[in-house]
Each structure stands twice: as structure tokens, then as C-alpha cells.
Symmetry: C2
Subunit: 144 residues, 2 copies
């Protein structure tokens, strides 16, 4: 069994919830996309594959996946939520082009030290961070 499914089943059992084919299909699809997604795109992916799941079920499943650390919200400033798998993926940040919407990923290991410093300085238990950088890509910068 894929490890992300295992993680979810453990979480489900521990919380006294139920294992359903819908949740498993949604999770499977998310980890096949292997990149960021939004609810509508995920829903369409599933429908095109012939998987019958309602958006309501997706909206109800995502908080569970977040809660057990499989995915996280990401902010692309587009007025609706985006998400991405984090389980089994290295932590990365996003560089977004304000012209064409292209999104590049990059790693920034120095932020781990920043987290530790903030923890010490303010007594926080740090759970994570998000960094987005915006600008114009090589193409779009010529047209502004």
C-alpha cells in the first residue's frame, strides 16, 4: 500500500472515522498529480477518470488530509484555495510570474534556521512556514 494511504488509514482508525472509497480515490488522485492543485481541478480530474465523487466530499476530505500532514494549503493570491502534497516531498517555496502565472519551485534550507530562531525568541512551537516570491519571468518582463 502506498505510504500516504497508510498514513491516512492510521489517522482514520485513530480518530474513529471511516475508510471510504471516495476519500481513498481523492487521496490517490492528489498524489498522482504530484504538484499543486485546486478543488475544481481535482474534481475535474476525478470526473474525467470516471470516478464519481462530489465536490462536497472533496471539501470535507481536504481538512482531514491537512490534519494528518499529507497536504497543505498554498496561497497563489487567486481568490480561491490551492493545495499541494507535502508527505514524501521536500519542502519548497514558490516563485510565481505575475504575467503568465508560471510557478517555479525552489528550496530554501536557510528558513529552517529562521524557524528555530523564532521559536527561541518568542517561545513558539513552530509548525511550518510558507514563502512566495512574485515577479515577471524572462518573457513577461519584456511586455510590461
Amino acid at each position: 500500500m502506498k505510504p500516504e494511504i497508510q498514513v491516512f488509514q492510521d489517522y482514520i482508525r485513530q480518530r474513529g472515522l471511516r475508510r471510504t472509497p471516495e476519500r481513498e480515490q481523492i487521496l490517490k488522485q492528489i498524489f498522482e498529480i504530484h504538484g499543486h492543485f485546486d478543488v475544481d481541478g481535482l474534481y475535474l480530474n476525478l470526473r474525467h477518470k470516471g470516478v464519481r465523487v462530489s465536490k462536497a466530499s472533496i471539501y470535507r476530505a481536504l481538512p482531514l488530509f491537512i490534519d494528518c500532514g499529507l497536504i497543505r494549503e498554498v496561497d497563489f493570491s487567486e481568490g480561491h484555495w490551492h493545495y499541494e502534497p507535502i508527505y514524501g516531498h521536500t519542502h519548497h517555496s514558490h516563485l510565481r510570474c505575475l504575467g503568465c502565472g508560471e510557478i517555479l519551485e525552489f528550496e530554501e534550507p536557510a528558513l529552517k534556521r529562521l524557524e528555530e530562531q523564532l521559536a527561541r525568541q518568542h517561545g513558539y512551537l513552530i509548525k511550518g512556514h510558507q514563502l512566495q516570491v512574485q515577479g515577471y519571468c524572462a518573457n513577461c518582463r519584456q511586455t510590461i
Copy 2:
């Protein structure tokens, strides 16, 4: 005249737009708050002061303020937009408590170098970045 008002008037003139008391009141209020805000809070602030402005005008004014570099969007993962003044303020990031919602500001000058590196590496013209760190504050970490 306050410098942020001056910046906005210059922008207005340059774009052939019109100077209105509504926009000026909204901008004035934003720079009196001197911290992050959302549309509803800003609207209530103005109403309580007896300033008659509609939310529609606020929604229509904010993109202008963003466009001329006076404010920026900030993401607190709360399902609606937050904003903060940036003109005349030093750039900072946010540390947010997942328990009580407290928000601390901190500076992270190293990210300037990261921006330059990304610009070189990917040919981007960088316009800015946002960093949020989440965790539990000294109080809330005891109750989770």
C-alpha cells in the same frame, strides 16, 4: 500633505483618473490603522467615524493602492483577504499563532539576497515576496 496621499495623487493624475474624497478617506484610514486590516474592518472603521463610503468603493480602491505600491495583500489563511500598508514601512514577515490568532512581525533581511539569486537564476524581475510562519505561542502550545 501626507506622503502616501501625494503618491496616490501622482498616480491618479498620471493615469487620468479622478481624485475623490472617498478614495482619500479610505487611504487616510488605512494609514491611520498602521497595521494589517481587512475590507470589513476598514468599512466599519470608516462608518464609525461617520465617513459614508460603500464597500464597493473600498473594493474598487484597493487595487489602485496596490498598483501604486502603497499597500499589499497578505495571506492569513482565513478565507478572505487581508492587506497592510507598505509605503513608509519596513518590509517584514508574519509569525501567526494557530491557536489564538496572534500575529507577530519580524524582519528577515536575508530574503533580499534570495530575491537577487532567484532573479539571476531564472531571469525573473522580482517584485516582492511574502513569508508567513505558523505555530503555537507560549500560551497556546500548552493547550494542544
